[in-house]
Amino acid sequence: MIAPAQPDLVTVNIDGKEIAVPRGTNVIEAARLVAIDVPHYCYHPKLSVVGNCRMCLIEMGLPAVDPATKAPIMDPASGKQKINWMPRPQIGCATNVSPGLHVRTTTPQIKDCREGVMEFLLINHPLDCPICDQAGECKLQEQATQYGRGYSRFVEQKNVKPKRTPLGPRVMLDDERCILCSRCIRFCKEVAKDDVLGFIDRGSFSTLTCYPGKQLENNYSLNTVDICPVGALTSTDFRFKMRVWFLKQTNSIDTESSVGANTVVWSREGVIYRITPRRNDAVNDTWMADSGRLLYKQVAAPDRLSAITVQGAAGTLASAAAAASTLFQAGAVAVVGSGRSTVEEQFLTKQLAATLGARVSLVSRVGQGDKILISADRNPNLRGALVTGLIDTLPSAQLAALGAAIEAGQVKTVVAIGEDLAAAGLTAAQLAKVSIVYLGTHANATSVAAKIVVPTLTVFEKAGTFINQQFRIQKFARAVPGPAGASDDLAALSALIAAAGGAAIAADLPAIWAQLAAEVPALATMTYRNIPDTGLLLDGTPWSALPFVEGETLHYKPAAAPALATA
């Protein structure tokens, strides 16, 4: 990594506090650095500035200079340079810092301005908070407690607008609540590159709508719900399901593709209600794909495996390990690892394969990349398998080599870790020829054919790390407890290693990380605890020659072979 050049810093004074910020920063961001909150609705750090809500008004002043000589004019009272304060307030979002800029955010004039803006915004706002999904995370609610007047001077009738207009399959619009901040419009235009939203009509008739014949149906539409500062845009999936203040937030990672978008899983009492993006400026900014938000539904899916079975009969982890031990003693074992497993699980998979002397296959999943936050490689942790040494070349799409080995009778037992062998290209006849040990979360052709089935946990029910396409190692935490009958992946793998005759490994993260740091050179100085929430970039140069399938995404540019992009 080449260190970024030292940015051009300018010193500004915000409410009496001096701070040096990069040139081009706006006043809202500069104030944030000195922990001063400038309220705003339309401004969003990752979108263009329009300045239409007028909430972020500030007073600004510049050091006075003599117009003729350009010499600083000194204030004799303080001995400092005089500040020429502008008579009218300015909007903070569209005011970029300049050297010596002085800003006041708490003067009576500013308070008056904000109260005036709030009063206008609330004039036609319905008294909807009891039924509004945004309640609890609503900027309008928050600012109303500081700048609202507590009663309304508006005696006329409020505007009536449509309350439930579907903008697309996943987004519902409540027009009465909309404050016309245009964040959703700018998001669609600038980030999703799908320009479908716009305002029509004037004045109090202004309405957000889709262009004729279009719908807000791109795979990033739910980000408009996240950035809506009020409850105008709501998700049809989360709508009226649960109030946000009950939900526990857990940091997680989107497992859809190798982008590894940072997410927050919102759960209550072991039930997940929604998934939203978590800001990580190096990976996903503040966005995530809609498809990743529905992944929580796999947790309570009806085809979820819930009991250990050995030869079709109910068993325990010990009996499964004993049965596996018998299979392993016959030799000729193949291990199918997974690019969906965590780094820790892949490390244990490698230990298992090494103990068994087994060959390891990985299943490749390649889809269409969308150049934003879905990459072509749909395995969230293929890089983890490379870093831990589970594999040293990229996996092929089909398990053809394994299939041929089964046909030739060289493989008698297959340990499938989270992978459906039938979906990965093995035929039913090939599956019937081998004994299968299956560790996985959901029922599929492999779990039906398997001799030993150990149900494991989904990404929401365990903690671990993934390494994304940038070779950024990112950790996720456990949001909800696993279902009864499911075993922790690490415990199951540890039991299999013991069954194969290897040294037992404690199935907890600190113990595995001690071993990972000792044996994996790329992770030598790390522990699970000291990985920051936004991840840690590893050195990917040892693998830079491999023909990765990913094309360009939001914060990733393929290093080599762009011909393979968006395969």
Binding site: P130, Q157, K158, R164
Partner: protein, 179 residues
């Protein structure tokens, strides 16, 4: 320990007959026999409950029979012993109260947990939950002691409404300032 001798006064003749004590006791008995009754024949007879009494929490409907609760879950949030459990739900778009959009799918109050504090009534923005005058809750099992939504409405009945907030909203939608 010092020993303190106590003089035992010999009883007088009247005292030895026990008559003064019996008569004074009978006087109290007869006084109460004549006095107005202070007990009541519970459960056939019930006391008058003062206004503001905090009895069993109930859900109420407005005079038009609309269920007032919109499942905002503030009572669930504020409830100190976590006795309230609400499953929010959407009002189907073909219902007459569709403009309210939201109503509870399930509303359970566990009366074994309820401490009759009245915070749910105080916090309710829709004036839908009231601690009314019902003061006895009995049951043979723990399940019976959980009041479900239909039971809560049965206990609550209908109360007068000062605001008709949602009716006004509907009227505005139909005739008012429609955009």
């Amino acid at each position: 320990m010092a020993v303190i001798p106590v003089d035992r006064k010999p009883l007088s003749f009247a005292e030895r007959t026990y008559m003064p004590q019996i008569l004074s006791g009978m006087k109290i008995t007869f006084k109460h026999l004549m006095a107005p009754k202070v007990t009541m024949e519970y459960p056939e007879e019930r006391p008058a409950i003062p206004a503001g009494y905090r009895g069993v929490p109930t859900l109420v409907k407005d005079p038009n029979g609309r269920e007032k609760c919109v499942s905002c879950q503030l009572c669930e949030f504020v409830c100190p012993p976590k006795a309230i459990r609400i499953t929010p739900g959407e009002i189907p778009p073909d219902a007459p109260t569709r403009h309210v959009e939201k109503a509870p799918q399930a509303f359970d109050i566990d009366m074994l947990r309820c401490i009759y504090c009245g915070l749910c009534q105080e916090v309710c923005p829709e004036e839908a939950i009231f601690l009314q005058q019902q003061y006895t809750m009995t049951g043979y099992s723990r399940e019976e002691m959980v009041n479900h939504k239909d039971r809560l409405y049965e206990l609550g009945g209908t109360l007068p409404d000062e605001h008709y907030k949602w009716d006004k909203k509907k009227a505005a939608e139909e005739h008012g300032n429609a955009h």
